[in-house]
Structure formats: C-alpha cells, structure tokens
Symmetry: none
C-alpha cells in the first residue's frame, strides 16, 4: 500500500468519525503504530487534520472539501463577501452568480439565515447545500466547462421566469464609462438575463478590475444598484463611479 493511499484513508476515517485512535488505524491499515503516527504527523503538518494525544481529530467540515486554497486575491474577496452578507435579509429571495467572489459570499452566509437562493453556478450550489436554512434552486442549462455555470438559451429562458429581490453578480471587467464587460459572449447573455430578473443588482468586484474593459458588454454602470469592493467607500479610486446613482459599499 502506498503511503499517500494510506494517508488518504486516515483522512477519510477522520472526516467520517471526526476522531480516530492511532491504535485503531494501525490495526485497520495493518501497519505499525509508528507508521500511523508518522502519517498523522505529516497530515497535521499539512493542516489536513489535527493531531492529538493518541489519535487525531478532524479540522472541521469546511476546510478542505470544496474550497480551493489557491484563490487569487482571496483576502479582498472575503472582505467583499462580508460586506455583501450584511445586505441579506431573513426570508429573502436572492440570486448568486458564479466566480470566486460570489463563492465567498455563498460560503459566508450564516447558518441561521433563511434564504431562497437561485444560482447558475455548480460550485456555488454545492456550497449553498451546506447551509441548513437555504433553499437552493439551480437554474439549469448547458454547463460552461470553464466557468462551471449554466449558459445558453435554456438558462436564459428560465431566468426570464423568475424575479429575485437581490442578485449578487461578479464581472470580468468594470469601467465607470463602459460599464460591465466580459471576454465571453455566452456569459454576457446570461448576466443580462440575471440583471433583468432582479429587483436590485449588487456588483461584487475587487478594485483591481476597476477601469478595465473587454469585448462584450453586459450592462451600463447605471444598471447596478450597489457596488461592493474591498476598498473603503470613500476611497479615491471610486470617484469616477460617484457620477452615477449607485451605492458604494
């Protein structure tokens, strides 16, 4: 048996039972306790579990499962998501877009908040399933391999049949003058449909994307009700956006 394989099984047991004893694992895996000890030590060093006297305990559920730890600018995106969470209301009906920033928002939804969430994004939907009081409704359609979201006529048609209080969307590029733009035409089409299906639209974007543009246009800045960046709302970088009827957060 390969070392990695063994360590995976140890991890699996830990995830399953929340705790293990080294002696048990040694017997299950049919290796010496020293080997198990060394494995657990490595896994602990890799933050996959927590080593304790005589065994190991799970780190908790969310740590390793769906969340990649190589998200670009995660710090900023977490700040944005935290601000976005404050807009959520008990019993609300919202839409959450795909992308890593929206993923953070989905992750940070409090356990006690009751919501109905629509989404086009497979990862976001998976994340939302961990929230006990969130009803998840996936807007079906053909799935884009890169973006992992529903695209195409079908998805757009389904969106035309719903109307949510708030939609939280990301964008590839945003500019005060040119509005929201994308690299991908299909994505633009569904984003348009999302905005149309929302009473209010909230844009989540890291400041790095400000004043950038691309080929296809999703909407004007004026179509956005609230824009959230990781910056302080008074920051000068946001000045260009103050000409519009848009709330900065």
């Amino acid at each position: 048996m390969l070392k990695e394989e063994r360590q995976q099984r140890i991890l699996g047991e830990v995830e399953l039972h929340n705790r293990i004893l080294l002696t048990d694992m040694a017997e299950i895996l049919d290796v010496s306790i020293d080997t198990v000890r060394r494995d657990v030590k490595e896994l602990d060093a890799a933050n996959k579990l927590q080593k304790v006297h005589g065994g190991a305990i799970s780190m908790g559920f969310t740590t390793y499962s769906a969340r990649n730890n190589n998200i670009y600018a995660l710090e900023q995106k977490t700040i944005i998501a935290e601000k976005a969470v404050t807009l959520l209301k008990q019993g609300g009906v919202i839409f959450i877009d795909g992308g890593t920033t929206c993923m953070e928002l989905a992750r940070l939804i409090p356990d006690d908040l009751e919501l109905t969430c629509f989404t086009l994004s497979l990862p976001v939907a998976m994340q939302l399933l961990t929230k006990p009081n969130v009803t998840v409704i996936f807007v079906g359609g053909q799935i884009s391999k890169e973006a992992q979201i529903s695209i195409g006529a079908n998805a757009i048609h389904h969106l035309s049949e719903i109307r949510v209080d708030y939609s939280f969307i990301g964008t590839g590029y945003v500019d005060a003058l040119f509005g929201l733009t994308e690299f991908d035409w299909d994505i633009v089409q569904v984003k348009k449909a999302v905005i149309k299906a929302s009473k209010k639209t909230v844009l989540l974007s890291i400041s790095e994307k400000l004043n950038s543009q691309h080929r296809y246009k999703t909407c004007d800045i004026s179509a956005i009700n609230t824009m959230i960046t990781e910056l302080d709302p008074d920051n000068n970088l946001l000045n260009l956006f103050r000409n519009y009827d848009i709330r900065l957060l």
Copy 2:
C-alpha cells in the same frame, strides 16, 4: 510497444484504480521498472498524474478525496461502472442519475468519447465537466440537500421536454417482484420522469440491493431494459430477474 501507448495504459490504470504500483505496472506492461518509472515521471511532469514513492496516484485523488474513502462498496461500483461504459456510443445522448454508482460511471467516461449528458446531480455534473468531449446539461430545479440532485415540479417538467438514448439510473432498493423502490417520495417522482424521458433505461445496482424494497415505487422491473450488477450475468442471485425481458450485464 510504443512509448505513447504504454503511457496511455499507465494513465488508464491510474484513472481506473486511482493508484498504481510501479512494480505492478512493470509486470503488466512487461518492461523494466525503470522504464515505468521514467514514464510516470514524464506523466507527472505533464500533470497527468502524481508520482509518489513506489507508484503514482490520480490527480483527483488528493483534491477531491471526499469521494474515495467514504464510498460504500466502491470496488463493486467500479466494476458496474466499467460495464456501463461499454454501452456508451460515440455521439450519444444520455442521462446520468445521481448516487455513487452513477458517479463512478461519470468518472470512468473516456476522455475521447463525445457525448451529450443530461443530469440532475450536482456532483455528477461537476465530474462530467472534467471530460473534454462531454457536453453537460444540467436539469435545473430545487436541489435536495441530502441527494444533491434537482427535485420538484420544475425538474420534472424539464425532463418531460427531453428524450435521451440511454439513461443510467441508480435506485435505493430493487426487487424482481416489487420493482424499483425508494425511501423518498420526491426522488421517486424525478426518477419516473427520467425513465419516461429515455428510450432505454439502464439500472446500475450492487447485488446487495437485490431483493430489497421500500415504501415508494419508481417502476416495475419490466420498465428497465438493462440491469448491471457487479456479478457475472450468469450468477444464480440474478435468477429471479430472468423471468423478465431484461438484459443482465
């Protein structure tokens, strides 16, 4: 034997069993262990697999590890999935159900196979996204927290609008006399809709589920065209099913 061919076989073994030992591969391929080692080294450099001491593990193994360890009767399910893969035809339009057995099927779809796959299952959809030549279409709806699949009127309605060549479904319980049954009423409703949307229905079930039943009925055995278990088709345990016009695999 060509180097390329050999590397493909190594990769195939890794995909299938999640791990290989260099010594095993050397024997299987009838080359020296050094050659295998060098091949694996190249494949590792190309990010096709992960080389470890004594062998190699598949890329998905570590990252998406929730799958591997906690799946009950994985070996049997892999056998079933391998049989199911043989039914797939280039350019086919199929439906893949949720559940761990169907997940295995999704995982084992060859990279070069062109398919259009419908599914209700979020994990299956995620898995299918890794297949370069598979078009994934997700049938939207409210997502069941436990089963992680679309349920409800919406999903059923969408299913009524499609017709696939083959559907591959799992079931909670199966009995020659009572047919396919489930614990959950909502699940039964979508399963019915799936069967109605398929020209041919293939049931994937480990033999352990044979001759078991529960509260709600999905369909009679006669509604199934092919049943795949991990057993040999001639196995006596399948005798009761021979009274029906059903292909055993």
